[in-house]
Subunit: 95 residues, 2 copies
């Protein structure tokens, strides 16, 4: 699946709700899902990790849609086949 | 770009760092980027929104890689062309 197809599916499913809710409340939804993901990481709950990663991925897509941002373009601008900090592939940063 | 290609690029760039850092510290990186995204939403800073959405997208990919989770598969399991809560497309939930 292309990243653009993923964003289109999210738009088909949720764009009307996202527009009604607006950016701040949509950001809160993402934060809620990130909290659930953090719990799954803490518990090392592999089944939930899968679902919560899917939810965080989905809400990043929803927020990008709300702002009309193409995630593939934005990602490749920031990470153009090299680390944006050290300029290397693989990255040689020490975190 | 396919979602799988995005995950492969993240792996080529960062898998060695992600493994060394581990899940908890990688989750913290994601949380840090989510905080920066929240600031961009609050300020309605369109240029930063683009970059912070790219970073959140990237760190969700890094965390999925660390657990060997295919984001496309996990996403389509949870969102199989309909809303997982109401079962409709478009979604008819009221949030």
């Amino acid at each position: 699946m292309e990243i653009a197809e993923f964003q289109q599916l999210m738009s088909d499913l949720y764009a009307h709700n996202d527009r009604k809710r607006g950016p701040a409340a949509t950001m809160l939804w993402l934060v809620e899902e990130v909290g659930e993901l953090a719990e799954a990481v803490r518990r090392d709950d592999r089944e939930n990790l899968r679902e919560e990663l899917a939810d965080c991925f989905a809400w990043v897509g929803a927020l990008a849609n709300l702002y009309g941002i193409d995630l593939e373009e934005a990602f490749l601008e920031k990470y153009p086949d090299k680390c944006p900090t050290c300029g290397q592939k693989p990255c040689i940063c020490t975190d």
